[in-house]
Point group: C2
Chain length 197, copies 2
């Protein structure tokens, strides 16, 4: 699938809001999550490992969300029931996000799209991209932070699957953990007063 055929995926376009993070602030964040050049190399390798497993990863994540009423709730339509069309649209962008996370160069277009993804989890932009009429205006911050665990833990079996040495799998997994935590950190920005972020 080409990225331009994914509905609502707008990385690198003028529709995306500008990130309020400066380059200096972002550098300090990367430093705080211990993310260095080596991690980028391991993310690239993880990208190759995951490339033909994206649908299987999404099956696990969607299985987890679907099995938890308090989570699938956020994908509900006007009637308060999970909206399969909404779930399906977000799933395509989620698949692309796995590729983007592994390929990230952390440039301005990427930073701006992180801001956009953050906004899409808040009442500023949730439901807009897919034209959904939903009973739920935003994802609560508690689950954004808590999700670092399932999104990190459940990727491990997929990183193992191509026969890499245990130490290499560890390195891929550590880089993935840092990359996910970095992104959730950026996504938390629209949740708080600017002075508190």
């Amino acid at each position: 699938m080409t990225t331009s055929s994914i509905p609502g995926y707008t990385l690198g376009t003028a529709e995306v809001a500008a990130s309020p993070i400066s380059d200096a602030e972002f550098a300090l964040l990367k430093q705080t999550v211990l993310l260095g050049e080596d991690d980028l190399r391991w993310l690239r390798i993880a990208g190759e490992v995951l490339d033909d497993q994206i649908e299987a990863v999404l099956d696990v994540w969607y299985g987890f969300v679907g099995a938890n009423a308090h989570l699938v709730h956020y994908f509900s339509g006007a009637d308060g029931k999970p909206d399969p069309a909404y779930l399906g649209r977000v799933r395509q962008r989620f698949g692309q996000w796995i590729r983007d996370t592994c390929a990230a160069r952390y440039d301005r277009a990427w930073l701006d799209y992180q801001h956009e993804i953050g906004l899409r989890h808040t009442s500023a932009k949730k439901n807009r991209t897919d034209g959904v009429v939903s009973a739920v205006p935003h994802i609560h911050l508690r689950y954004m932070i808590a999700f670092i665990v399932p999104i990190t833990a459940t990727i491990k079996p997929f990183l193992v699957r191509k026969g890499h040495a245990a130490a290499d799998v560890e390195a891929m997994h550590a880089a993935w953990f840092k990359a996910v935590t970095l992104q959730v950190t950026l996504w938390s920005e629209p949740y708080v007063a600017p002075s508190a972020f």
Copy 2:
């Protein structure tokens, strides 16, 4: 050291603010970070492994904070320079926190103290416990979330050190990761509007 001899450590006392989290909400949070009974067992084992290594763990964490001007900044006094007395007081409570994290039964007293620790990172309570006059009124939320990585990654070498099988170290480490993310999630509550948490 007995806990009652740690200045400002008030778990289980009437001085601690009450957590706004209900039992039902907390159960859903544990479910979201995939934290189960097995993890509690591994946390207990981690507690035994870490027991005589607490100072060494704190040396690593304080070394990291001290080496990063943007982090040690939060421990500064009125003159904007790191305050050794403040660092020292927090260090004692941080050591106790490692033990508490491994021994946690997740009861009301524990939940209330999580709320208290969250508040102590915000302008509601930072600096009060140690009577510090500081130029810095609160820890920014970005670093609270980002810190999940160093606090999780740097514990691993200490978990290895007592000769446990690799799979057991993994299980201890996974439980620690869940426990830390759960706590940062709880601590984020005073940072946001109640409706957004």
